[in-house]
Each structure stands twice: as C-alpha cells, then as structure tokens.
Symmetry: D3
Subunit: 314 residues, 6 copies
C-alpha cells in the first residue's frame, strides 16, 4: 500500500494528490473569506484551511474534485492538520482518478459475488433460496457498491457486501458448532438484513440518507421488498413471514429500531453475528492507528470506549 | 340497558344467563377436580368456581357456550365472585344469542360506515383518497367488527372502527383550530393507522394475537398493505411514502414500537389524537365503576395510576 | 408584514434598524477587543461581530439599545451572519421604538382579554369561577405581557396568554366531543396552569428566571396562589383541592416537574392540551423556515427531531 | 419487654391477647366462609385463618378489636402463622388497652418535645425561628403522634417526631464538623421537612393516605403552610423562600417527588440526613430479626437488598 | 434415553422412581399438614402434594432422598402435576443411585478434560499458558462438576466446564476468521472467566450462593486468584493485568456486574462468545419443549421473550 | 493567604510567578504558531495565549515549569483570561519552588498521620486493626501525597488522606448516634476504601490514570491488596471477607462501579459518609467563588446543578 496522508509525522512537508471531501466557506477575524477543506485519500481524512480564498478558489475547490497540494503536516490539538503552501486543481494530464482516493473493501466485487452465489447455492429450502436470489439480483449493482453505513463501521465503497460476506463465513462457522441452527435462514437473513440500505442511503460516495431512508428506514424498506418478491415469485409459505421477521428484528430491540425483538432462534443469532462483525471492524480500525501500550481514540459506537493495545502485542 | 352481572350488590341471589368466556380445570385440596369459569355479559366479567366437576361438566361448560345460573354474588378480596347454586347449559328453547353477551361499540356499523365514507369523501388529494378508500374496501368487513385491542382500550366488538371514528371527529376539530394541518393526511392517517390489526388479531371475540401479529405487528403489516395498494392503483407520488410514515410512526417512539418517530407534522398530531382518544376511553370506563369521592382501580395502561372522582361531580 | 432580517438572501447588502439583544466582549487573535452582537427584529435574530471595538463602542452598543446598521448578509456554517460596514446608535430623531423589534402574539391583548372573559363567564361552578376570575384579575397585567417561556415555544411578548387562549379553544372543541369532561375544570386549569410564570420569569423581554422561579418553579408558586385566593374569597370546597391538583400535575410526570401525576380525568386532558398546543407552535415555527422537500433544523424540545415538509405541500 | 407474638418458635402453643389489625372474609373450597385475621402486638404481626366463620364471628372480629386467643404457631412458607384453637373478643374485665398492642417510638413524647424546643431555642435567625416555632405549635398534637410513613421506615406511633429528633442530633453532629453549614436552616429544614404528613396521612393507627395526601402530597402541603405562616407572622425576608425550598427539594430529585432538586447547600445535606436516618432505621429493624451468619429478608425500600450480619458480630 | 417424568401425557398413570428436590410443609384448609414435593429425574421436575402428611412422612420424604411413586399425571394451569396414589422411600434393594436422577452435560468429564488440555497446549505465550494451567489444576475437581449457574443456563452437573468447552470451540472458529485476534488471550479468558463460580456456588447439586459468593461474586474472586497464581509462579508481565481484565470485564457493562467494560479487543469478543453460547443453550432448551408452530414459555433471561418454532422446521 | 491569580478583578495589570500546568501549540488564522498556556497558583487556574510563539518559546514554556509574567486580566465569555505582556522562564535566582503553586490539603501530613494512627489505635478487633495498619504502612508515602481524584473533589496534593481524615471524624460522630454500628469496620472501611488510588493514579501532580487504573480500577486493586495483606499476616477470619466487601461496595451500585451493592450495614453507611464528605467539599469550593444572592457555576459531579447562596448569608 502506498503512503497515505495519515502516514506522515508532524512537521513533514508533503507534495501529493488529494480528493476534496467537503469545502465550507467561513469569514476570518480579519473579515476575509476562507475555505475549510476536508481532504482525503485511502488512508483517511485531514483538514486544511485555505486563507484569503477568492471567488475563483470557491469554484475550483469543491467537493469531489481532486487537487495537488504542497504543504506541511502539523499538530492541532492532537490531530493532524495540513498547512497549504500551494494548491491547484488537477486536470486530465495528472492522470489520477476518483477511485484512487476512496477506501474500498479488501476483497474485489468478483470475489464477493462468487461467495454470495455459493452460499445461496448451498441453501436447501427452495422458497428461501428463490427469494434471496431474486432480491440479490434485483439490487445487485448497488449492493456491491454501497457502504454499510455513513459512519461507524464498514463506511467504505463495497462496505455493505463486505460486511455481508464476513457475516456469512461467521454464520457458517457458528452453524457447524450448533447444528440445531437452520443454515438457510441464517444465510438468507445475513444477505437480506441490510439490503434496504441501497434505498436508505444515497450511494457509494459522500453518502447521506435519502428522504425514504429518513422516513422509513432500511428495515421497513426491506421487509416490503421481501413481500413484493414473494408475490412476484408466487411464494406464500411461512418462510416469507420468517424472512420478514429476520430482517425486522435484526437490530435486537425496539429502542434500537426493531419494532419486534428476535422471536426466532436464527433471528437472535443473526443479531449477534451482525454485532460481532461490526465490532471487529470498528476495533481493528481503531487499534490499527495506535502502538502497543497506547489507548485508541474513543469509539462512539462502542459506548465511547477507548481501547488498550497490550505491550506484548508487538 | 338491562341490569348486568356487575350491577348487583354483594350478598344478592341472582338467576340469569351468562356467556362462558373461559373454563379452566383444577384439582382442589380434597383431590377432586373443579372448573374456574369466567362468565360475562355486556356489563363485564365475573369469576365462579364449579366444585366437584365431573367429566360431563367439563364437556358442557366450555368457552363460548351460554349457561343459565342461579347463585349468589359475594365479595372475594374486594372483587365480585359468583357462588353457583345451580347451573345448566342453554338450548334453543332459551332463545338467547351470543351477541347479547358481548360488549359492542355504542354506534352501529352503519352509522360508522357512513361517517368513514363522508371523511374519505372530504379528502382533496386524489392519491391519498384513492389509497384510503381502496384499503378500507379491502378490509371492510373485519375493520367493522374487530376490537381495537385484546385489552386496555376499545376491547369490544367494533372497537377498532369506533376508535377510528372518534379520532376522525377529534382530528376535524383540531384541524379547524390549526389550519396549517393537512386534513387529508390526518384523516387518512387516522383511518389506516390501526387497520393492520385485522391481520394482527384473531377476530372479534376471544381475541388473541396471530403468528403474523406476533412476528411482524400491525404497523409493519399495514405499511406493506399501503405499498401494495399503491402498486395496484398505479400511484407513485410522495403521498405513498408519507402515508407509510404516518402509520409507521404513530406509536411515537422506537421503544413503543415505531421504528421511526413522527417526522411529519401530521404524524406527530396523529400520535396525539390516538393517545387522547384511547385515554378518554380508558378513563371513562374506569371512572364509571366508582362513585364520587372514590379512587378507581389502578389502570395498568395509564402508568398504573388510580384516578379520583371529585365529590362535586355528583 | 415588512421584510425582516431573516428574510434576505446571502450576499445582499442591507440598511436597517435592529435591536441589540445581547452584546459580549471578546479579544481577537490580534489582541484587540471585539463585540459579538445578537441583533433582532420581529423576524428573528442574527449574529454580528464588531471588530476593533473601543470603549465608547462598548458603552454605546449594549443590550436593549436600537442601532442603525449598513452591512452584508453572509453565510457562516449554514446560518446567516451580518457583516457590519457602518453602525450607529439611534436617537429620538430616528422615531423607532422597542415594540417594533419584538415578536408579539398574533392576537391583540384586547382580543385575548375578551376571550378569557367569555370562557370565565361560561363556567357554571361558582367556586371555580370566582377563584379563576380573582387570580386573573390579580395578575392580569403581567399575564397579558409575559412570554410562555424563555425559549422552545411561545417565547414572545404575550406568548403566555396566547398559549392559554389557543388551549381554551382546543379544550372547548375536545369537551364537546367527550361530554363526560367537566368544562369548568378544563377552562380553569388552562387559565391557571402556567400563571405562576409571571413570578417565575423576569418579564416580557430579555426574559430570565427569577431566584424564586429557580428555587420553587411556577407550579409550586401557583399552587400557593390558589390556596391564598381561596382563603381570601372564603371558599373551602373540594374545588380548591382539585384546582391545585390540576396545576400541580400539568407536567404529567414527576421527572417533568409534577410531583403528582394527573389523578383526575381533566388533569390528564389538560396535560395533553398543553402539550398539543406547544408542539403545534414549535412545529409551525420550525416548518415555516424551510421549503417543501426539506428537513427543518433539529428541534431540541421535540426530542431533537428534524421534521420533513412534504413536496406536495406547496 | 414482654414476649411478643413473633418471639415464639414454630410448634409452640400460645395463650395471649392480640389486636386485630385487619379482618377479610373469604370463601373456602368447601364453600364455607372464613376470616383472614392479621393480628398484632408490639413485636409485630401474624396471620391467622378463622375457618367456618359465621355471621356473629364477622361482627365480633373486626379491625381494631382486641381478642384472646389460644393457638399454635406454625411455619407457612417460612413465615409464622397462627392456628387458632380458641378465640374470644375481650371485654372490660380483661383490662387490656389499645396502646399495649401498638409499636411506639423508643422516646416519650415529653422527651422529644423537650429536644425540639431546645433546637428551636438554639436558632439565631429570628425569621427562621419564628416560622418553625409557629408551625410546630400549630400542628403539635398530630406531629407528636403520627408515624413517618405507612410502611418502610418509622411506621409506628410517634415515628414522625422520632425520625425528626434523630435527624436533629445528626444535623448537629455534621454541622459541627462542617462549620460552613447554616445550623438554623438545617434544624428548621429537619423539623419542617415531613410535617405535611400530618395532613397527608390519616392518623397514628391503621394509617392510610388522605385524598389531599394523594392529590397534593406532603411536600406541596407543607410549602403552602410555610407561606401561610410567614404571612400570618408578617415575615417577608428571603428566609421564607429558602425554607420553602428546603422542604420542596428534600426528596432530592424530580423522579422522587421533589419538583426542584436541592439548590442550596443545606438542602442537599438535609436530603442526606433524611436518607441516612431512614436507612439506619430500616437496617436495624431488618437485622434485629436475624442471627449472625444469616441474611435478612429482602428490604424493598433498600433496593430490595438482603443484608448480611457478620458472624463475628455476636 | 429412557422416558422421563416430563415425557408422559396428562391423564396417564405412572409407576417410577424420582428424586425429591425439595419438600415443604404446609397446612391445608382442613387444618391438616401436607407436603409439597418437587420431584425430578433427568427429564426435569414435577410438583406433587402429599396430603395428610404425618410426622414420619416428614422425616422420610426430605430433599435428596429417592422415592418410588405410583400416581397420575394431570394438568394444573397448563403445567404437569403428579397426583400421588402410593409413595415409599427407596432402600438398597431398589438399586437406584443419585446420579441417575440428575441432569449432566452431554460430554463426559474425560472428553472435556482432554479438550481443555489441548487448548492450553496450543497456547504460545508461556505466561498466559502457565497461569491458566496452574489455576485449572488448582480448581480442577470442582471445575469439572459444578453447574454454570443456579438457573437460566447450563444449570446441570458439569454445566460449567461444558459451557467453557463449547466457548473454546466457538473462540477457535471466530479467531480463524478474524486473524487479528490473540488466540492465547481468548482461550485463557474462556477457561478462567467463570472459574470463580467454584467458590461463588455451593456445589454441583441443590446449588445455592455461598456467603463469599454473595458478598464478592465470582468475578472478584477470580481476579484475586489470578493475582495469587502469578505471584506463586513468579510471573509479573503485563499478561497478568490483561488476564485479570478479561475476567473482570466479561459481563460487558457495569450494570451487569463488570466494574470495567471490556477495554481490550479480546475482552469484547470474550463477552460475545459467552453470551452467544449461553443464549444458544437457553434457546435450545426452551424450543425442545414445544412443537413446530408453537411459541415457547417466556424465557426470563432472554428479556422474557417467548420464541416461535417455525412450522417448516418439522 | 497571599493573593492568587483568581483574586484579581478584570482589567487589572499583574506581575507575578505562575506554574505552567499545560502548554498546547496551535496555528493562528494568520498562519503563525501560538501557545495556549494553562497557568496556575494555589488559588486556581487561568488561560493565556502566547501569540507568535517561536521554537525557543515552545521549549521554554512547557508543563511543570515556572514563569514570571507581566500581563492584564481580562474577561473572556465570563471567565478570567490573562493577556501576556512579558513572560520569562524562572531560574534559581527567583527562589520559587513547585510546592508554592500547588494546592494542598488544609492540614499537614503530620497532623493527618497522627489522626490516622489514633483511629487505628481505637480499633478493638485485632484482625481488622492489623490489616488496616499493615496496608497503611505499605502505601503510606503515596497515601499521604496523592489527590483523591483527577477532578471533581479533593483534587489537590494530599487530597486523598484529607478526605479520609474528614470521613473518619464523620464516621465517629455518626457511630456515636447509632450505637449499633461497628466502629472498627467503619474506620477500617474509611481508611481502605480509596487506598487503591495510589496505584490507579499516576501521582500527586498532573495526575492521570495508569494503565492498571484504567483496566482494573482502584476498587479491584484494593480488594486484591486486602487479600494479600491477610495472607501475609496469616489472618483468615470472616473479617477479611467483610473488609473486601466494604471496599468493593463503597460506590453503592453496579452502575457506579461496585460489582456488589453494600450488603453489610457498615458498607451502606460508608457509602453515605464518602458521598457526604465529597459533596461538602464540592459545594464549599463552588460557593466560595460566588457572592450572596448569586448562583454558582454548574457543578458537573453534582448532577450539573447550579447552587444558590442566600442573601442573608453575608
């Protein structure tokens, strides 16, 4: 992996391409406008101020454009900040492209598609299998590209499917230790549980919530989708109800967004698998950034805890 | 109204017809079987023990059968109990029928249907009007017969539609005081909000939850129904999303079963109207049973409070 | 209505009178003092910085003084800010007066007084009527001028009485649908419930809490007032106790400031009417500021929700 | 102290006088009426069943009457029960009186009155002193007789004043260690904090809540009393407000019944002293009943904990 | 497996050996003593009443004795009850033994010991390995016999070690999917996390809490044990602190008994593995007792939920 | 006491020595680095900005160094700020020492040691006495120097022992009023309850949490210490268990960090004494800074309340 913006020490001068994630105008105490730029590459984000910004600057340096910057990394309240010496917008001659600056899943879409296909193939109940396959096919493109969330965990390109694929492997391992579990339900539950996010969220980059996402949420959206799929496929067994329930209850409690708590064994386990994979992802990302003997930054979605990396984990 | 089983004083001997709501077998300390009968008429319920019950008794005295009883009302821990002297199962010659023993709404189904029709007629937005009319027509029979709940409030035959009709009148009164409210949304929200109960509950008498009711709940069921209706009618405007949201959010908070809180003004007001009508119903029923200067029994669904009836309310 | 400070677009130059709501001194990074001014007219508030403020500026530009300003509206983190070009304190020749800059209720004090009088006239129970009339008369001047709160809802001149008058109309409409309600209690409860705010709050403008407001609160203050009124009028029936209870319980729950929850039917309904009118006021104010298809700012007193204005509400 | 009903072992036959605390009629499984009697003496309460009770029994054995009983103590689910062999109602010739069967405070009313007088005498601030003395005088008879509660702690004759006197001694000890505390406020707060119970509760025996107690509560009642006292005495200083606040806030938190939390140092300490004395009372009573090495019964008002008595505390 | 007491239908007459789990004396309404016996075999428990019990019965039929019973299974409020026709205490000639009536883990102690040995053998960090081996050896006998709890999950002979062995397999499977996890810490955490229960609980049968268990709890007990072990072995690295933390935090939250939440990645995962295995155990046991299409009894430790067994799970 | 940095009015020029508590580098809007200095003396802390700071400044003005400053006190958002005119690092010739700038307990270490000795001497139970004396001796140096916390209460040099000594006096006063209390347990509990802070915290100045403090906490650390002490002294009575329980439970509830709530009378009282002394300390410190008739700043550890100082407390 090449060196990213977060891999430099304080005090170092850098000369590199970065993607503008967001640009906000402000007025400095001397009365002149300035731009606060959030810049990113695959290693993460850094803030920079562009002082005395004129109107042309405002037009040039907008979200989703790529810039070339010479500047210095310094320390602002314990966080990296970039002090800009030179900045220019890139053109075709720079031969850089958007994808180079976005974080993506560690597996390719092909690898993940093939895994999904295999798990669906392994299902024995035809009703469950057909509904799952139908919905995956219907939403396939977005499902392979969307992040799992706007923040907290798997918030990168293809994060949604990567989360699903990790959960499938976990489901398989658990089901082999507890043979009373219905594998078909577990696999289908894993694949469908967050699929409604392809409607709830706006897309793979600069992700926000859609109006439908805000007013209904991905759980309700997906329960409807299962109903529609069953109707289109002419399937009416109890499997339809159970699949809806698996999606409906996967947040575990009413106050976490599931109007019904898990009332099926596989629904309870699905909730656990979801949580466990999300937590592993958050923990790994937080711990990657500190050295043995240090505590991580507080992780909001893990009850605001700060985790310790043991010294003997060198 | 004729005198009901709860209208007699302690110590009085009665001779009347009653409906068996439930019958449960037990073994007395002398080793002999007995039946605990919950008996009802339109005034309410009373418990009775049938001691030394033989097998024939068990077959005769089952739920939903009507009996003729001679017995005494006495006081058991502050509640009425019926001590049976004579009991027999009724036959055709008794000319009593089931409906005579069930509590029903104070308005007839015809009156309520006509009110519903008028409110739908008053809607101006054709999308909202058509979806509401379509769903009312689809579920009309059950909607007119079901209770609003198995307990707590409007738990009587036609309780659901009676609750809806009261709420419509309240919605109209409020909308005329706050003209910024969208009447169409309010009326549609009121009519649809609990309609999923015709799937969630088992029917108008001896009401229980269906499996679908337990695993999905009336809110999710109804959101799906709105989606289906819109599709069948070929309606795709934002009204569909808003109607779904009205139903989805009408419990007000995630911990009360709404995965999204009200995020539309009319959704917030719908939640209030629903609550206000339910509470008035519970308060009136609890206060009817006590005299001025007394406190009611604790009402579980009203935070277990015991309400006072002022002395000057004679 | 004339154009207010919040009605201009970003980038526009304005020349207008504004009232200074508050002025706070700071030290800029160049070591020089500056003033942060919160300026207001009837449309709302805007922030402005007065850089390099000297001692005379500090004396001139204080809270409650009116200034003439030429400046530019610009956008700071999504909120309007005013960049001052010229500023001067107004004098008699400007012929502007305080009231022109304060938000007031949409009804005149006369209209509202007449409504209050009518509702009291309609009461049938003489004890309730006399106590209500006595207390209204005692606190009339402040009651007609005070806001209902320092923020959240009805936080404008005469906001308290406007809130009461809206609630009275609502109480009347509800009582006509639920005839078991005691109208006298409802009307008296509405008129008295927040009257203690004339002691709890400091006055109609730049409103803060008094020491008595902080240490006792408007509920306790008003319960005492009812007791005193009854004594002065020589009234001793149960009505006194019930009126005290209506005021005492109107926040609905101990954790919301009512040491006793509503234990009278009308007390429960009073709590609902209070809430409903307050919420309608907050919702209307929040939604007025956005266009169809947008979400409002988060409203703290409505559980920090952000409300959506449907697109078809054009 | 003579031997009480709770001091006998299981299996023992007893012959003694007892007070009937309550008598409730039931119907046995053989269809015959029986009475459940709660019998008490100063050591506590015991339950007894009077089988086959006739009408004369019902009239004879009512609450507050004293009976002579011969019977056997036996063990019913770990609790003592009294099996009646013979029972008769007492008459004048038995020379027993009500007080002999009621638990009372360990100090006499005279001793406690003298302590109260001394503490009031020690106050330096005349406003605080006069209000406290005035209110004590006004309610003196009931204040000396009432319990502090219907259950949980100090639920015996003169329990209220005994609780106050213990708290005064504690207040004095604490104030001498933390000299910044205002002794006058502490003493007055202690004496007045629960005085409203003389209106909230029905009296020293068979204590229940009055309607005023239910609808207003002792805190609100007493805040009003302080206001009235100040008016009658022509006192208007800030001391009146502070005394009201001390009473108002002594439950510590809104959810525990104080609409305002303590906002004065002495109010915070008063809350602590109240709690500490109540807890010591509950702990001592629970621990008295077990032997070293045992756990007490669960104490509901102490978070349902069961306390251990160390073995080395012999 | 032979037929157990819970495997018979209502109405059937049985003739079999049962273990008395507990025997409690009561007094019937006819004034005669009776015994309530809780009887058990490996299939579960059933209640029986022995009416008109004399003193000899009381001595014969005590907890932990085995009886031969002829009686009838009947239905009491939906639960099985045993109506005794004949009962006698067993003697040597019956050749029955205690173990035959106790539920035990499905794996033998030998199998489980061998699994534990292998997992410890697989550890790479010598400090972690030595401490774990030392403590296992120290408590081995009890560790192999104790249940994991007095109720809720794994409440059978050898339940503790069975829970641990299942968790080890789960830990291995998860660690192979998330290679950043430290296997040594996970395995040691699993083996040690509940080992303190051998002090907290009284033993493998009729299990209760010891005084030390009540006052300190198994977590604190075990943290001390790790400290002592490290000292005895002369180990002082950070591993000691981390092992203590794993045990200390394994309940996940302060309110669940862990004074520190997990602050190490493996501690967080240990908490999950513990929960998942416990829940699988409870779910399987609850679902075993119902047929497809039915709901289980409410499971208190699973938020009092009632779980559904899908019809297609035949 | 000499005048401290917080004793000057706004606008005054000062010339004095101060200790740098912390120094943080930032970049001003003109692109130049600056230092934010938190400066302190025994009266408290003040913030100052050192603009245009060069590299030498960064090296000179670091935490724990003492500086001589000439500057002006001004008001920044209601808080004092120091505007630096001249600053220089002190050298030996300034004859100032670290201790002069640190807040310390109002009693000397000798006085407090002597009090501790006396209380231990007064103990009657030899096991309790020996363990307490042993542990005090083992940790004596740190115990006499450490603060009781990093913030909130007793956060000054020797704050820990000062808190303990105040609590001992309080324990003695309370025990003399409630003679059923075991003084030995109370005294030992007070002395040991927070002693684990000498391991949990880093030291008497610039106090932070150690890794062991973060992962185990002072309660668990101290429970282990008691176990070790008992072993070393060969003491094995129940006193060891009870002392552990006193320390374990002194935070009162699981959610406040005590895995077991107090289950011994003296443990419950210890929790109260701890709270009361901590609150008195916080209240006195907050109230010292305001004048009669004013409210204090909000005190986070007292539920964020703002306390009022009565006007008649002049």
């Amino acid at each position: 992996m090449t060196r990213g913006i977060l891999d430099y020490d304080f005090g170092v001068q850098v000369d590199l391409y970065l993607l503008i994630k967001s640009a906000t105008k402000g007025i400095a105490s001397n009365g002149k406008p300035f731009l606060t730029l959030i810049l990113q590459d695959q290693s993460g984000e850094i803030e920079a101020k562009l002082w005395d910004a004129n109107e042309e600057d405002e037009k040039n340096y907008t979200a989703q454009s790529i810039v070339k910057i010479i500047g210095d990394i310094h320390n602002y309240r314990g966080k990296s900040q970039l002090k800009i010496r030179q900045i220019r917008r890139t053109g075709p001659s720079d031969s850089v492209k958007l994808e180079d600056f976005l974080e993506t899943a560690p597996l390719s879409q092909e690898e993940m598609t093939s895994k999904l296909t295999q798990y669906i193939f392994d299902m024995k109940n035809p009703n469950i299998q057909r509904i799952t396959r139908h919905l995956l096919k219907k939403h396939q493109k977005a499902f392979l590209e969307y992040p799992a969330a706007t923040k907290n965990h798997h918030e990168f390109v293809s994060g949604l499917v990567y989360h699903v694929v990790s959960m499938l492997d976990l489901a398989k391992a658990i089901a082999s230790l507890y043979p009373s579990l219905d594998k078909d339900l577990l696999y289908a539950g894993v694949i469908l549980h967050d699929m409604g996010k392809v409607v709830e969220l706006s897309g793979p980059i600069s992700t926000t919530y859609t109006v439908e996402g805000n007013l209904l949420g991905h759980i309700t959206i997906m329960v409807n989708e299962i109903g529609k799929a069953a109707e289109e496929l002419g399937i009416s067994g109890e499997e339809v109800l159970i699949l809806k329930h698996l999606v409906l209850s996967h947040h575990g409690k009413a106050e976490w967004g599931s109007p019904k708590p898990p009332l099926i064994k596989e629904a309870e386990i699905l909730h656990y698998i979801d949580n466990l994979d999300a937590k592993m992802n958050m923990l790994d990302r937080a711990l990657e950034r500190v050295k043995p003997g240090e505590f991580t930054e507080r992780v909001f979605a893990l009850d605001n805890r700060s985790f310790y990396k043991p010294i003997f984990h060198k």
